[in-house]
Symmetry: C4
Subunit: 281 residues, 4 copies
């Protein structure tokens, strides 16, 4: 993160750099402890919101939990202001991934002054925990998730086509089952019937609405079979894409002695003739 | 689409060509706007049908919504007639993919004069939105979906074998559970029991009908385990097929000697007749 | 099928050969028609059993349907006796795949004289329809299904290991949820709880029994996450196996001119140098 | 197992070696029979626990079943003590995989003297059956399961990233649906709503809690679509990993120069140090 928000060396405000190292960095002793305490406080504040949402606990300890939540919110607000203060480009930070999440984690409590119930959205703070990847210096994890995400991005066009086809299927079958079963069997409108079609075609099958007429059950059977067939599609798209990504782990080096090509990326010697392989460029 | 229905140059009816460019083409300014307005009107008319299907809205605004739907239907009918009028081969258009969908989008409202409720099938208009692929000049999307569909077509024979096996499993288990559980536990007939078997084997599991006797639960467990095992089959078939499609990069070169079309992109000679292939342009 | 049961040429009973050709063969005109009629009669008799299982139809037309079913059974019995009579090795036929199915298709009706309800198992006749593959001369289908089945057989050892692990998971979680939730919440015994665990871990989720205590829901969540993780296992096993099978479609021919190896199995000329490929041996 | 616990030859206590061969080994006649009887007794004791958990059987035969269970427990305790007595390093055995399972299989009955109900955990004995792999000399099975498990281990980092993303999705959607639907529709707290979100996103869909307001159903639809999309992820990860494992055939040769172990089976030279590998025996 340092690369993004580091204060320019000619700023000369020593304390600003020091606080920056603690709040954003994780190389110093203080920076590490700050991050660990931060994660724990985030988890604690999420737990408080979870417990507060339980009716009996809310009645008996709601007042206390609300006060604790406000303490946390005050701390997080101060932290956010400090972050804005010590970075060179506050607006750039505010619009960055972590900056937006940090703000979103604050808003629910302030909104709860206007809208009752908004405080429960404080659990959105859970997203701040994603920062754990940065903290633990786990570059590997970032690499792993980038493989997963790249495969998803590479196949987004195929998935968009797939989703449009899904929408058409759900709309058409929703309208048909609405006509066949009708409001008296729970299919009170086409939007509700579309919700049922989505729940069925994805094999979730809540069972809150189910067809009861023979014709309705035939329509449902056709929809389910269709869903069973096309569940293969996203899996197939993603697996094929991921397999391609993983295959690329073999590098393109060619052995200068025997011409063998399919070397593992961590190989130093050709496994066919034993001669040394050149360094990867 | 121009390639299919373009009026012959020697027809000389200038206005016909102009309207053709607007209605079918999307290269001119007018043609682009026509398509955008068309998509919006289609979406609007689908939304009207969705809202009309909600009981309370139907009671309070049903009359108004019906009038709006008729306005849309009239517009779409005029559009359909114009399309038929300006193409060189009206019958060929009428039997084409988009021609059939355009007609199907009109029928429900006219049928609703004969059969009550048919107007809700007006949501079939949602299929007209597939035209969006043509409009946005997104040839790539067409290519993407053709990869998906080709993989499905290549594996249809395997999927047919799979569906026949499924039918046998569902029939046999439907009969067994009908005998074991019987009508008093909701399995009122073999067809209903087959519906339950389908819902169970595909892991949808509505829960509207469930076995309650120990023997019935053992039969259900066997069916579910079977289903869990064979859910792998369609996914496996499709993924393997798709992976093969993606791995081999076929290009669009045609052999000038024998006309064979499906060449791998790294081929220099036709694998059917051995004559040299032209360079890729 | 002829290869198996064909009467020896020195048997000299001409009518036996003729009937054999009709009943088992499908090369002659009569043989083809016999098979088509047979399939239709099988489907009809299955439909009769399905309809008879519907309560209202059973009450109004049960007597008629039973008579029709007996007519079918008599016909099938005669057919089975003829098959036994005309093959050279009746015992070998009786123990063959189709022989066993033919017998199983007869038994339910005769058993129904002893056990009420057995007649519904007449739907097992649906298995006789698998003969359709032989009838339609669709060798390709047999090939397709053999690829599917071979992949399943190749991975049976892995699937056995997987099923044993599943059994352990289901037993352990079944016992835990039984202790946590207890009979008062529907988990009346460990076997029933194991049934629930199976239904949950396979993502079927009927919802006939569900945990209601917080601790029970945590146990359920862990079980579901486990199930979500291991649903990948059978799919992964099967897909990897199938992909290997499909890859083998490339044959092992080597171009004698340039040494290129990866030819498609329907290639006649090398796609790298254009020289003719040798015939497949 | 002999490799681990075999008594040193200079111990000279002949009977100890003999008993070791019976209890741990499966090469001698006595050793084989001991193992077969052991498996049967384990299965029997699990069945007793299963039957005892059924209410009606517990009432009528509970006393008898408890006595039988205690007989089994005594036998297993004696067996465990003998195992500890005859191995050279009792502590090492006690901490080994099978040693821990053997102890866990004993504890529930002794704990049942303190905590009512604990005896049902005796079904944990089912885990002892995993020993069947050792008994049947099925080295191949161990190899098969090691391929499955290695693929899981290789992809654990990706799966950890995936699970963290799942947790974030479940928490966020749990909070949203709690606000939208509220306690009056069964979503009594955020933890319960998170349980519902997990059940929905994994396509289990019990249906014990379901959204009833239009907005709640829209939120549920978004969650389900997300779940349908990401069900592809674990399957894709695992399949791609497994396919890689199966494609590459690593053999068990160890490089005599540098000790590197993971050689492909067609390698002639070590890819780490370049020295020649010995021929496969």
């Amino acid at each position: 993160m340092a690369r993004f928000y580091s204060p320019s060396p000619n700023e000369n405000s020593k304390w600003k750099i020091k606080i920056f190292d603690i709040v954003f960095g994780n190389d110093t002793h203080a920076g590490k402890w700050f991050d660990i305490v931060l994660i724990l406080v985030i988890l604690l504040s999420v737990l408080v919101a979870l417990f507060d949402s339980i009716g009996t606990i809310h009645l008996s300890h709601g007042r206390l939990l609300l006060q604790i939540e406000w303490v946390f919110t005050t701390l997080f607000t101060i932290e956010y202001i400090i972050r804005l203060a010590v970075v060179k480009q506050p607006f750039r930070f505010a619009r960055s991934f972590y900056g937006v999440i940090d703000l979103f984690a604050l808003l629910p409590m302030y909104l709860s002054l206007l809208f009752i119930g908004a405080q429960y959205l404080a659990v959105l703070r859970v997203l701040r925990i994603l920062r754990i990847f940065e903290i633990l210096h786990l570059r590997r994890y970032t690499k792993e998730s980038s493989v997963l995400i790249n495969s998803l991005l590479n196949s987004w066009r195929k998935i968009f086509v797939f989703l449009l086809a899904m929408l058409a299927i759900i709309t058409v079958f929703g309208a048909i089952i609405f006509l066949v079963e009708g409001p008296e069997h729970g299919f009170t409108s086409i939007p509700i019937s579309m919700y049922w079609a989505l729940v069925s075609v994805t094999t979730v099958g809540f069972g809150d609405i189910t067809p009861v007429t023979p014709l309705g059950q035939i329509v449902a059977s056709m929809l389910i079979l269709l869903g069973y067939g096309i569940i293969a599609v996203p899996t197939g798209i993603y697996t094929a894409e991921l397999a391609t990504s993983l295959r690329r782990n073999y590098d393109s080096r060619v052995c200068e002695s025997c011409g063998y090509k399919s070397h593992e990326s961590n190989a130093k010697y050709c496994m066919k003739c034993g001669s040394e392989l050149s360094e990867k460029s």
